[in-house]
Amino acid sequence: MKKFDPNRIRRIILDMAYSGATVHIGCAFSIVEVLAVLYRDHLRLDVADPRSKGRDYMVLSKGHGIMAQYACLYELGWLSQADIGNYFKDGTRLKGLADVHVPGVEATAGSLGHGLSVAVGLALAAKLNKTDQACYVLIGDGELNEGPIWEGLLFAAQFKLDNLIVIVDKNDFQAMGSTEEVMGLGDVEAKFAAFGFDAITLDGHHEPALDAGLRALRAMRNGRPKAIVANTVKGKGVTFMEHNNAWHYTRLSPETYQAALAELEIRP
């Protein structure tokens, strides 16, 4: 069985969203491959201890995609079947946005523009502690509207945090519409480059490309922070959700749940 199989991760997300009657499905689906590749081959973690010293950090700054991370944490064994099965039930610990008290979640995020700064602090701490920890932080393209993001990018370059790898989930949508309609971003890679980052753009659903890009950036300890602009599709994996921003807010009905599940089940 393939570890962190994207199709299986999407099924877990779908089950969580259906049983919990939750929203934010589209923005979880767009980051599945990014998280799958990171957890499978890049994050150096101690499976026995989510808070092990010297671990790599995975900060989900776009906390709205948290169901995708929960699915990965479940695959790691840090979350239980009960956690997943009881999503959104009263008195349970998994919330609808990232909460630092959940094992494997490194920052409370979802109020946007927070996770990057915490990640920058973690990367700086690793530098000051002279460890070779890497700090990955996944931010949304809508999140780029937030002022503290740009404060954090300036800081990362100034303090030469080449152990920081920022991944932008560029699915071209935010809550109320397309990013172009709401707050045009222009050339995101060029913006990161202008801020002093080594920046690349790639297909955020193409696992070999993600793997190669992450590998190349991590190896470049040249005093410059890193960025990957991951071109993604909001709602990726279920045709009627893809590019349809309604799935930021829409809850699954029995019919849409079954239809989505059927699409995922026919895939290898």
Partner: protein, 315 residues
Amino acid sequence: MRKAFSDALVAAALADPKVLLLTGDHGYALFDAFRKACPNQYINCGVAEQNMVGVAAGLARGGFRPIVYGLAAFVPVRVLEQIKVDVCHEELPVVFIGDGAGFVYGQLGSSHQSTEDIACARALPGLTVLSPADRFELTAAFQLACEQVSPVYLRLGKSDRGDVHAGPVKLSVGVLLKIRGGSGKGALIATGSMVRTALDIVDAGLDAEVWSAPTIKPIDGKILGEICRRVNWLVVLEEHSVMGGLGACIAETVTMIRPVPVCRIGVEDRFSEFCGSYEYLLREHRLDTESVKQRIAGFLSAVDGEQNFDFPQAV
């Protein structure tokens, strides 16, 4: 008081290499000694306070003891949400220093004056709030802040109003410090710069105990209860809004344990109107010693005469 602050910072950093001082490009001259003694523990985060607090949270997670410095108008007020989400939610041991609180930056206008920081900070779960009155309280409060394993907001207001204590003091979280005894009629409880004012008023003849409140949250209900059993009235003085500050805190607590009339003297529900010196702004807000005397006299005549209170319009 500012030298005491600089000395305390340097001592803390020399004693513990994990102590880091973060500033949002503030602290000109104030940090000269620190930068000389501990250059590798000084991080100028630029004019970007929101990111600074997130970075402090990450550093604390990485084993460091960040001390985050800013003007009180910015730390904690501008970055309140970062303090809440990034630091308090995980109970990280970060010390926030809000300098220039109250009307210290009188001539710069309302953006740099800070009379709402205590109210904001008090409401954040797990955040201890300290407000020293002189260099002795500052030294003890800073040490207390560094000993905590949870977040602390340390408020620094007008710093040159002289000592209110004869020598070093010991502080524990919640404590009220008695500075003057009285015959038991009433008590003045003040914090920061206004402790000096309370002393001046008592020294001019008012029969009242004087207490300093270097810790505003939590506050020791036992000490406050003992004071309330002894006295008939309380006056609370602060260079902060009467809404949500020490006066509100005392009134809330007293209501629960032993109600006595409480007069809250602070900044009413308004911004400063004019440019002016610190002393001018105290007068504008009726917080200079003469105005405070009159306000207390009005309160006492209402209490003594059992008249109906004539509530100030703005409160």
